[in-house]
């Protein structure tokens, strides 16, 4: 059977033009996909966890869920974390589990674009959906982002190559500028590569904004970039018809963090006094935007949410996973669709091995390897359907193309089993 216009559940691009062939319940062909997407669809069945496990021993799903319920209901300060590579139904259940257990719900935004959200809360953000880039942009800036490694079809589908309503010439009609500390695949296709010193994005963004405002700065260079070049760049930005900045972890994970984004937002807002300018974070996991979106409509807060007092409270730095684990504050953890043992600084990851950790996962990961309870789940977007939010906030429907392995349920279903168990215990 041929499926067309399938939505890809890998990165924040959420490309929705995949063509997938399913024969006898297996995916046998895939078109239009990038290398990672291809790998995801073709390998979703390999290295699978086939059975639930407790303390490293195979266990029935029922027993493993019971164990999970026991761990969570006995915990004083449970952490529920992950949620960026699953669909919104599962995210919704996870938030409710956080509320029922009086725990903390955090998602992987805290180590990717959490700082972007902090900046938005300080100064706002001028943004647009990706089609605006396609149809209108004559200037595209990649700042601390490298789609050639992280968002493989972004350049072709959305930002650089495509022809659109007013960008009738595609690549030729766009000026592409890359600001980075090193050469990457993206810098190679740029019209201009602004190479800056590490940890100095903030200064350059500020200098650009001041220059756009018309101030003469009393310095010769900023961040390793001569003032003359900065002035040129400011002029180019002011004079384009529609500019867009795609920024990445180069800004959020280096010194300055949210303040780098604060400055980027400020620059872009300022440019709107001269022309049209927007910016869009390059969200990594395919539904990390959804994790923030669902949590926000349900609780008011996008991540780092503490339910210990019965109502949600928010404070990144206090209720974020890395901080909670590094300080040893949490006494149990449930990880959904994420692999903190492979993505957190070792200091933080270490605590997961010390406390009872429950992990919902398809394949063996460092996190499952140190978990007390492992619950195998279906792959959303391949074996289970649901909603995902693209990096620009556009919601799309993920498909179920094949059945999950026998006895294996979706994240949402497994979380619901745990939730029901918790509600029973509470009564």
């Amino acid at each position: 059977m041929e499926h067309v216009d399938v939505v890809c559940p890998f990165c924040g691009c959420l490309c929705d033009d995949l063509e997938i062939t399913v024969e006898e319940g297996h995916i046998t062909g895939i078109k239009n996909a990038c290398a990672v997407s291809r790998s995801k669809f073709l390998n979703h069945g390999s290295h699978r966890i086939t059975s639930a496990a407790v303390d490293g021993k195979k266990a029935s799903m029922k027993k493993a869920v019971k164990e999970a319920v026991e761990i969570l209901s006995n915990a004083r300060r449970p952490l529920i974390y992950g949620l960026s590579s699953t669909e919104c139904g599962a995210i919704s259940k996870a938030v409710e589990i956080g509320e029922v257990t009086g725990g903390i719900v955090d998602n992987t935004a805290s180590v990717c674009h959490g700082p972007t959200i902090l900046a938005l809360q300080q100064v706002g953000e001028s943004k647009a959906t990706l089609g605006e880039a396609r149809n209108r942009a004559d200037m595209v800036v990649f700042w601390g982002s490298n789609p050639t490694a992280a968002h493989l079809r972004h350049i072709v589908r959305y930002s650089v190559m495509p022809k659109g309503m007013y960008s009738t010439e595609g690549r030729k009609g766009r000026k592409v500028i890359v600001v980075d500390v090193r050469q990457t695949g993206t810098t190679r296709l740029a019209d201009k590569f602004v190479k800056i010193k590490p940890n100095s994005d903030f200064e350059l963004l500020q200098a650009l904004r001041a220059t756009v405002r018309g101030d003469e700065l009393p310095v010769d260079e900023v961040s390793g970039v001569p003032m003359k070049e900065i002035k040129e760049l400011a002029e180019e930005m002011k004079n384009c018809k529609f500019g867009i900045v795609f920024f990445g972890l180069g800004l959020t994970q280096s010194e300055g963090r949210h303040m780098n984004i604060d400055a980027a937002v400020g620059l872009v807002s300022e440019l709107n006094r001269h022309t049209k300018f927007v910016l869009t974070p390059m969200r990594g996991h395919y539904n990390v935007a959804g994790a923030n979106t669902v949590a926000t409509w349900q609780t008011g807060y996008p991540y780092a949410i503490d339910f210990s007092k019965g109502y949600p409270r928010y404070n990144p730095g206090e209720f974020t996973a890395v901080d909670l684990l590094a300080s040893g504050e949490v006494d149990a953890a449930m990880i959904i669709a994420s692999d903190p043992a492979a993505t957190f600084p070792a200091d933080a990851a270490r605590h997961l091995a010390k406390i009872p950790t429950i992990t919902l996962e398809q394949k063996t990961t460092p996190t499952t390897m140190l978990s007390k309870v492992v619950l195998p789940v279906a792959t959303a977007g391949v074996e289970a359907e649901g909603t995902a939010y693209r990096m620009d906030g556009v919601p799309l429907r993920l498909s179920k193309l094949v059945e999950p392995p026998k006895g294996i349920h979706s994240d949402e279903k497994v979380l619901d089993m745990i939730l029901e168990g918790l509600k029973e215990v509470a009564q």
Partner: protein, 280 residues
């Protein structure tokens, strides 16, 4: 003043939220009532006496109440939150949000103190003899109203984003500050006798606010412009007051020092001042 002594029964990795440790709440209560005050411990509510030995005397009114937390309270959050009067002394370290939104009275912490100390402070005096964490006297997430009054003095060093979105009030740091001191500052005064960290005054609009740097500054943002070198009279007055009223002796040695004045942050069209004392 009547002195109530709270002795922590030990350290807990799970923090305790004890905004009840405040003269406003304790003053006028009976000892059993105080012991039964609620504190949050993870997802459960406990009584204060489960975590502290409670002894000493309780005043009839909050303004007469003196509270001593005698021991390590680095796991205790929100001590003195929103207090308006009376006095708290922590003999040791204290946890996050100590003295947040306080309006009056005084808090002294003899050890170190965690993040968000004195956040959105409105009045009163908060002194830390050791080091302070990040976001000292800061605005909580999303708010553009940081500190609006009161005074914070830290003898040691402080972390990043001191006094974010500060509007009024005063912060004095005898040691060094981390990055983004006075970020988004829109009024208020910051005095640093150690070294000021990177990116001080970022996005500061000014509105009369300044950062006085007596121990030098790592580097200035390119969006601050040198203006003049002068020996401001108001600074002499401040420094005398700091020495006389707050016992900050080091202040006197800068009384006649000329200061270099920089204005910014030009990125936001601001006119905040960074005043850097000339080296001796």
């Amino acid at each position: 003043m009547r002195k109530l002594v709270l002795k922590p029964k030990g350290f807990s990795k799970i923090p305790i939220e004890a905004e009840v440790i405040s003269p406003d709440i304790i003053g006028g209560k009976t000892l059993p009532e105080v012991k039964a005050l609620s504190v949050q411990y993870g997802n459960k509510v406990h009584s204060l006496s489960e975590f502290f030995d409670v002894g000493g005397r309780i005043a009839k009114t909050p303004d007469e109440q003196d509270i001593v937390v005698d021991g390590d309270a680095s796991h205790v959050k929100y001590i003195g939150k929103g207090m308006t009067t009376g006095r708290i002394v922590v003999q040791g370290d204290a946890g996050m949000h100590t003295g947040s939104q306080m309006k009056g009275g005084s808090i002294t912490v003899t050890g170190n103190i965690a993040d968000w100390t004195g956040a959105e402070m409105k009045g009163g005096l908060l002194r830390v003899l050791g080091d302070a964490g990040n976001l000292l006297g800061a605005a909580y997430r999303g708010s553009s109203d940081g500190m609006t009054g009161g005074c914070i003095v830290v003898n040691g060093s402080v972390g990043s984003e001191v006094a974010s979105f500060m509007r009024r009030g005063m912060i004095v740091v005898l040691g060094d500050t981390g990055p983004f001191t006075g970020v988004h500052m829109n009024g208020g005064e910051i005095f640093v006798f150690g070294k000021v960290g990177r990116r001080a005054g970022a996005q500061a609009k000014g509105n009369g606010g300044f950062i006085a740097c007596f121990g030098g500054i790592d580097e200035l943002l390119p969006t601050y412009r040198y203006d003049t070198t002068f020996t401001p009279t108001f600074m002499r007055l401040y420094l005398r007051q700091l020495a006389g009223n707050l016992g900050i002796d080091v202040a006197t040695s800068y009384i006649d020092k000329p200061m270099r004045r920089y204005r910014g942050d030009l990125a936001v069209g601001g006119n905040a001042e960074i005043l850097v004392a000339e080296k001796a």
